[in-house]
Amino acid sequence: MKTYDVAIIGAGVVGTSIARELARYRLDIALLEKEEDLAFGVSKSNSGIIHPGTQNPPDSLKGKLCVQGNFLIRKISKELGVDFKEVGELIVAFNEGDARELLRLKKEAGLLGVTGLRIVDREWLRKNEPNLNSEAVCSLYAPTAGIISPYRFVYDLAENAVKNGVEVFTKTKVTNINRLDGYFEIGASSGVFKSRYLVNAAGLFADEISAMLGVNNFKIKPRKGEEFILDKKKTDLARHLIFPLPSRISKGVLIIKTADGNPMIGPTAEDVEDKEDFSTSDIGLNRVLTSARRLIPSINDRDIIAYFAGLRPVAGSDFIIRHEEKSPGFVNVAGIQSPGLTASPAIALLVAGILKDNGLALKKKLIFHGHRNKTIHLFAAPASKTRRLIKKDHAYGDIVCRCEMVSAKEIRDAVKRGARTMDGVKFRTRAQAGRCHGSFCTTRIMKILAEETRMPLTEITKRGKGSEIVKGSSR
């Protein structure tokens, strides 16, 4: 059996970032994911915000890695061909007390090295954020905030990691780990893996993985966030990411611009027990609507086309990123809640450094293929480009998802790049994510999936075994 240099558990944004960073070196790397596809855990419900670093204590690991990540992600997104848009953020004050709080946030963020911060007044807000509640007195403007598609970022990181030799194993749930003489023996649902070093990026389940090695020094507590997505025709609802003043446990309910064009409102923040409770509630919806309307009063609940709940993996107030002396070679990367997406490239660098400090030789490969051709999305292409694409390949003109304008070619490519489920296609292409919610395109997408993977239609699932779309054939 092959012994990997490094095994990484969890293929969310943290695990895939680490894998891609380590792929620069002459190492055998295995990335293990329990779900059917990558980014199906914490990352799939991420808001997609690249935070500037404005809402973290200056001495926190979160704060430092966030500011560093905000800088690094610009280069990485260029290399990977992921759209990063620097849209800027506003933290809104409604009275003098709030305004004083903004000054404190500005000072703290300044200490972390966040650049371009300034307090903007009512006049500026009226001109630059016309739908904002006119009762707002001023805002802290952070121009370096941006947006990215969290799942497409994961898929592209993983694809690039694979190109550079990383081996990805999905449907591989780790069930037990033994530390033997100089290596870890990792028992998983799809077989046994051996590795010299082990990185735990298992999100909500990081405490359970860590406990398998007798390291019980933290507990993951899920904190639920419900988010509500608005119709794409409301794409101009806000020009910036809009935040209220943060509370002790969360950044509050935001107006979020997304890389997909649909505005999103949320999230709630509610501590829950069940790590698999992704249900939304009427209470959550009402809470989000009330808070979001405080920022933008014109939000209409009839424009809500989709909603979901995500669970933040909370382990105390800061990230846990450390080598565990009790189990040499084992690195925990846990409690990566917000701003985890932003921080992920910096986390990857930090983890590489920790592995090196603990004896892993990091020798650069002669050739690292850092560049990846940008995935084509018609919804983001201007008409002139669409015309060229259709001329080159007719299937770009064969629209499958009418609401989000996704062609048969894009769906076929998504399957070729690894999508095996309906959600995998949705997260990669946006097909089924629009206002009709797949009513018109589900059957066509199933057929393309079946054709490309040679699976029977009855085995096509929403997101893995047990979530088959149909129950059999009709009479």
Partner: protein, 312 residues
């Protein structure tokens, strides 16, 4: 830019009737754009009967009704049909941009008839909370699965809303050997046709809960059950009335909404029988939601006539 006299967007019953009528009223250059691979629209999956009673004085199935018009359209060389053609842009100056396999085309029309149909309201639009497992479908998608694709989407069905497609699908599922657990309707009476209520639900002994609503969907990977609440006539929940129904599938039949995003995004307003832009007309379900296709046909004939008069 290519110039055309009349562009009709949508090749369902409304678009086809408008095309035939425009031709009969003197328009000799008509382009009919249909996004699907065949004309007829949603009629193609409506294999049940009950179509054409008013218009043809015959009882037809959906595909039969559609075929009558497809034949007419085919026999008029002045109507050019372009299939798999999806309009992505509409402007107030009557510029139409559409995609089809191999081409992106921009056309300047003298008149336009929008006949883009409607879509079904989703679970999200009526804010039913809970989880998001597999097994939640619009009634129309379930109909397509069974009638067009030969697939059975579920075995224990819960229908939300008593719209016509929901009722018809309740019968269809029963005939397919699935068990329809219940139809749950928030209003105090059916929102579908009375004949469908009798022929699709009552005749098959399917329980119908009026004044009830689904409060939550449960299930991790696949739908497992729903919780149901009784409401009063103002839709206020009645405390203590909560109960659960086991099912593996939730069918949404809670109404249709006109699909007029193109009109909206072009900043065109919809007025009585027309739009705010002279020369841009609307007909069929994108204009208002109809119960019967026969009425769609009648009104769409009028739209075709109005477009012809405008072009004169």
């Amino acid at each position: 830019m290519i110039k055309r006299d009349l562009v009709i967007v949508g090749g369902g019953p409304a678009g086809m009737a408008a095309a035939v009528s425009a031709y009969e009223n003197g328009v000799k250059d008509i382009l009919l754009l249909e996004r699907d691979q065949y004309l007829g629209g949603i009629l193609n999956q409506c294999v049940h009967t009950g179509f054409g009673i008013n218009y043809f004085k015959e009882i037809l199935t959906g595909p039969e009704y559609a075929d009558r018009f497809i034949e007419k359209v085919k026999n008029i060389p002045e109507i050019e049909v372009s299939l798999k053609s999806i309009v992505v842009g509409l402007a107030r100056d009557k510029a139409v941009t559409f995609l089809k396999p191999g081409r992106l085309e921009a056309i300047k029309a003298k008149a336009i008839i929008m006949a883009t149909g409607c879509r079904e309201k989703t679970r999200e639009m009526v804010h039913i909370q809970g989880t998001r497992p597999a097994g939640i479908f619009s009634a129309g998608l379930a109909q397509k699965f069974i009638n067009i694709e030969g697939l059975l989407p579920g075995k224990e069905i819960l229908v939300v809303g008593s719209g016509d497609i929901g009722l018809i699908m309740a019968r269809r599922f029963t005939l397919e050997g699935a068990k329809v657990q219940a139809i749950v309707e928030i209003q105090k009476e059916t929102r579908g046709l009375l004949r469908n209520m009798v022929q699709c639900a009552e005749d098959f002994g399917i329980p119908v809960y009026f004044n009830h609503k689904i409060s939550r969907i449960y299930g991790k990977d696949r739908v497992e059950k729903v919780s149901v609440l009784r409401v009063d006539d103002n839709f206020n929940e009645i405390p203590g009335s909560l109960f659960e129904i086991k099912c593996d599938t939730v069918l949404m039949s809670v109404g249709l909404i006109p699909e007029n995003e193109l009109i909206e995004m072009a900043g065109i307003r919809i007025e009585e029988n027309k739009t705010s832009v002279p020369g841009i007309f609307m007909c069929g379900n994108c204009f208002k939601i109809y119960d019967l296709v026969d009425r769609v046909t009648e009104d769409s004939f009028l739209a075709g006539k109005l477009a012809a008069e405008y072009l004169k």
